[in-house]
C-alpha cells in the first residue's frame, strides 16, 4: 500500500515524478490533459476541429460550474452530495416561476431558493456540527424528492429567451461557443481570485488544512464554512441556469450523476479530499480532462463504458498522488 510499491517499475524516476507532482499539484492534471489531447488528435481526424473543441467546452459547462462549488467545500474538508439535486430543483423552480411571473422573477426566485438550500446545508454542518457527508446525503434525498413533487412528474419546456441565455452562441471569428462556456470561465476566474488573493479565500484553506490551527489564529471557522456552503447553493442556481441554456427542458429525472461527476472533476484536478490543498485551477483542468475523455473516446469509436474505466483510474491515480503529497508534508 505504500507509495513506493505503486511506482516500482522504475522506482527512482517514478518517485521524482511523484515528488514534482506533489510540489506542483497542477503538473499532473495538466500533463494528463495534454497527453489525452495529443492521443485523441492522433487517432481521430475530427477531434481537433474547432467546432469539436467548442463542443467539449459546452458539454463541460454544467459539471464545470458545479465543480467550483464542490472545490470550495472540499477545500474545507467537507463534501456536497446534494449539489446535483439542488440544481435540478433550481431548473424546475425556474421553469415554473417563469410560466407565471416572467423570466426575471424566475431567476431571482431560483437564486434565492438554491442559496437557501446551500445555507441549510451550511447551517446543519456548522451549527449542529454534523458531518457534511451525512448532512448532504440527507438533503440530497429530500431535495431530489421535492423536485419530483414540485414537478408533478412532468417536464417543463422553457421558451428561448432569458432562461436559455447561457445557451446562446458567441461567435469569435471562426470559433463559436455558448455563453455558458464564457460564464463558466468567468466563474473560475472569480473563484480563483477570491481563493488565492483575498483573506476570505485564505481562511477557506486554513480551515480545511488544520481546523485547530485556524481557530487558534483567530479565524471564525464556522462563518467561513457556512459561507462556503451558501456560495455553493448560489453556484448551483447558476448551474441550473446554464443547464436550461443547454437543454431547454426542466426534467426532475435529469442530472442524476452530477453530484459524483463534480467530485470526480475536483479530485482529478488535484484538490485534496482531506481539505486545505488544491484549487479551482486544477478543477477546471479536471473538468476538461473528463470532457476530453468522453468526447475523444467517442470520436475514436471506443465503447462508452471505457470512458468510465478511464475516469475511475484517473480518480485513483489522483488520490494516490494526494496521499503521497500528504505523507511528504507531514
Amino acid at each position: 500500500m505504500s507509495t513506493t510499491t505503486a511506482v516500482r517499475p522504475s522506482a527512482a524516476t517514478g518517485r521524482s515524478i511523484l515528488q514534482a507532482m506533489a510540489r506542483n499539484p497542477l503538473l499532473g492534471p495538466v500533463a494528463a490533459l495534454v497527453v489525452s489531447v495529443i492521443i485523441f488528435s492522433l487517432v481521430s481526424d475530427t477531434f481537433l476541429n474547432p467546432q469539436n473543441l467548442s463542443l467539449i467546452l459546452q458539454q463541460s459547462v454544467v459539471i464545470g460550474i458545479l465543480a467550483v462549488g464542490q472545490t470550495l467545500i472540499i477545500l474545507t474538508s467537507g463534501i456536497d452530495l446534494s449539489i446535483g439535486a439542488v440544481t435540478v430543483l433550481g431548473t424546475i423552480v425556474m421553469a415554473q416561476t417563469a410560466g407565471t411571473n416572467g423570466a426575471v422573477a424566475a431567476l431571482l426566485t431560483t437564486f434565492a431558493v438554491c442559496t437557501l438550500l446551500g445555507a441549510l446545508n451550511g447551517g446543519l454542518v456548522t451549527v449542529l456540527r454534523l458531518p457534511p457527508f451525512i448532512v448532504t446525503l440527507g438533503t440530497f434525498t429530500a431535495i431530489q424528492a421535492a423536485a419530483r413533487l414540485l414537478a408533478g412528474s412532468q417536464t417543463y419546456q422553457v421558451p428561448e429567451g432569458p432562461l436559455t441565455f447561457l445557451g446562446f452562441f458567441l461567435n469569435v471569428g471562426p470559433f463559436s461557443t455558448s455563453l455558458g462556456v464564457v460564464a463558466m470561465l468567468l466563474l473560475y476566474a472569480v473563484a480563483w481570485y477570491v481563493l488565492s488573493q483575498t483573506a476570505g479565500g485564505r481562511h477557506v484553506y486554513a480551515v480545511g488544512g488544520s481546523l485547530p490551527a485556524a481557530v487558534l489564529s483567530g479565524i471564525r471557522s464556522g462563518r467561513t464554512v457556512f459561507s462556503v456552503y451558501l456560495m455553493t447553493g448560489l453556484i448551483a442556481a447558476f448551474a441550473a441556469w446554464a443547464a436550461l441554456g443547454r437543454i431547454p427542458n426542466a426534467d426532475p429525472n435529469a442530472l442524476q450523476t452530477a453530484n459524483l461527476d463534480s467530485i470526480t472533476a475536483v479530485v482529478i484536478g488535484g484538490t485534496s479530499l482531506f481539505g486545505g490543498r488544491g484549487g479551482v485551477g486544477g478543477t477546471l483542468i479536471g473538468t476538461l480532462i473528463v470532457g476530453v475523455l468522453r468526447n475523444g473516446l467517442t470520436q475514436a469509436g471506443v465503447d462508452s463504458l471505457y470512458q468510465n474505466i478511464a475516469t475511475g483510474i484517473l480518480v485513483i491515480v489522483a488520490v494516490t498522488v494526494d496521499q503521497f503529497a500528504r505523507r511528504r508534508a507531514s
Partner: protein
C-alpha cells in the same frame, strides 16, 4: 492587506479587456445558429455511417436494438456507432451523444429519446447540419421534430393488454393494481392510458385499488407490490409497465399465496417474458419488435444517403399479444410462436 489592495485593479483590468473582446463578437440564439459549420454527410469516404443512441446500454431491449442495428448495418455495408445515455432521464448524455455524432460526420442518427421534448434543440442542430434523424421506440413531442418515428403504437399495445386482462377476469368485479413505469414518460403514459381504455374504465375509477411507479425495475416492482397488497389483498388484476415489473409483482403475489387469484398483464415480448407467460407467471404480454425498428431505421438512412429520400411520420412496427389463454375480442399468438419471435 497590502497585497490585496495592490491586486484589486486586476478584476477591473480583466473586465475591461473582456468588454473589449466582447465588442468584437456576436451573439446568436441557438435557433439562429444555422448549420454551425458542420460539414454535411460523411467526411471523405462514401461509407454510410449511422449513429444509434439508446436510453441506456444495460436494458436487454436496448442491447437487442444495438445487436440488430449492427446486423442491419453490416448487411447494408454501413458503419454503426452505438452510444447511450447513462441512466433513464439522462438528457445531457444523449445531447452530448448527438453532438459527438454530428461532429464525427454521421449520415443519420437513430435515437430512443429519454425525454420526448428535452433533446429537441440538439436534434434540430443535427438535422440542420444535414443529418437524417429518426426516433425509435419513443416518439418525440412534437412528433415532427424528427424526420420519422419507427416504434410500437404503445397506446394500441396497452389497449390489447387491458382488453385481455378484463376478459380473463370474466364475471369477477375488477380490483386493479397498476405497476407503472417512470412518471411522465411518454411510452409509460400511452401504455397506462391504453390499458385503461382496453380495460373499460377511466383514470380515477374505484376499481383501481392501487398504483405505484416502478421505473420498470424488478426490485422496485416487488417492493411496491408487497406494500400495495397489504392495502388491497383482494386484488385480482395487475397492470405492469413491462416484464421485469411483472416478474417483481409476481414474486410479491407468490409470497402471499395469491397467484391463483390474480391475473397479470404485461408488455415487451422479451424471451424471458414469453417464458414467464408459458410458465403462468404472466397471463399475457404484448410483444414489441425492436429488431424491426432498427432495421427500418437503418434502411431509411441508407436510402436517404443513396437518393435523398426522407422518411416521414409515425411508422408502427406492430405488436402482438402473446398468451396461452386466448379470449374473444383480442387477436393473439401462443407462447410457442412467442418463443420463436421474442427478443433478448
Amino acid at each position: 492587506m497590502r497585497s490585496i489592495r495592490k491586486t484589486s485593479l486586476r478584476p477591473a483590468a480583466l473586465a475591461g479587456s473582456l468588454l473589449f473582446v466582447l465588442a468584437a463578437c456576436s451573439i446568436t440564439a441557438p435557433s439562429e445558429e444555422a448549420s454551425g459549420g458542420g460539414e454535411t454527410g460523411a467526411g471523405g469516404d462514401d461509407t454510410v455511417t449511422i449513429g444509434l443512441i439508446t436510453k441506456t446500454d444495460s436494458n436487454p431491449f436496448f442491447v437487442t436494438m444495438r445487436e440488430e442495428a449492427q446486423t442491419a448495418a453490416d448487411e447494408a455495408g454501413a458503419e454503426l456507432i452505438a452510444l447511450a445515455g447513462a441512466f433513464d432521464g439522462d438528457n445531457e448524455g444523449q445531447v452530448a451523444a448527438i453532438e459527438n455524432l454530428v461532429s464525427q460526420g454521421v449520415d443519420g442518427i437513430m435515437i430512443t429519446p429519454n425525454s420526448s421534448s428535452g433533446i429537441l434543440a440538439a436534434i434540430e442542430q443535427a438535422r440542420s447540419a444535414g443529418v437524417l434523424v429518426v426516433a425509435l421506440d419513443t416518439a418525440t413531442d412534437p412528433e415532427d421534430a424528427v424526420d420519422a418515428t419507427f416504434a410500437t403504437d404503445n397506446f394500441a399495445a396497452g389497449v390489447a393488454q387491458g382488453t385481455w386482462v378484463r376478459a380473463a377476469l370474466g364475471d369477477e368485479e375488477p380490483q386493479l393494481i397498476m405497476l407503472d413505469g417512470t412518471p411522465g414518460g411518454t411510452v409509460d403514459t400511452f401504455r397506462h392510458d391504453g390499458f385503461l381504455e382496453g380495460f373499460g374504465i377511466e383514470e380515477g375509477d374505484p376499481a383501481i385499488v392501487g398504483a405505484e411507479d416502478t421505473n420498470g425495475d424488478q426490485t422496485r416492482a416487488q417492493t411496491a407490490m408487497e406494500n400495495l397488497l397489504q392495502r388491497a389483498p383482494d386484488t385480482n388484476a395487475v397492470y405492469t409497465i413491462n416484464e421485469p415489473a411483472a416478474a417483481g409483482g409476481y414474486a410479491a403475489i407468490q409470497a402471499r399465496g395469491l397467484e391463483d387469484q390474480i391475473t397479470i398483464g404485461s408488455v415487451d415480448g422479451s424471451c424471458t417474458g414469453v417464458a414467464d407467460v408459458a410458465a403462468g407467471v404472466i397471463g399475457a404480454t404484448v410483444m414489441q419488435f425492436p429488431a424491426r425498428m432498427v432495421q427500418q431505421g437503418t434502411e431509411a438512412i441508407v436510402q436517404f444517403v443513396e437518393d435523398g429520400t426522407r422518411p416521414s411520420g409515425f411508422v408502427d412496427t406492430g405488436s402482438v399479444l402473446i398468451t396461452d389463454q386466448p379470449v374473444d375480442g383480442v387477436d393473439s399468438e401462443n407462447t410457442a410462436w412467442g418463443a420463436e419471435n421474442c427478443w433478448g
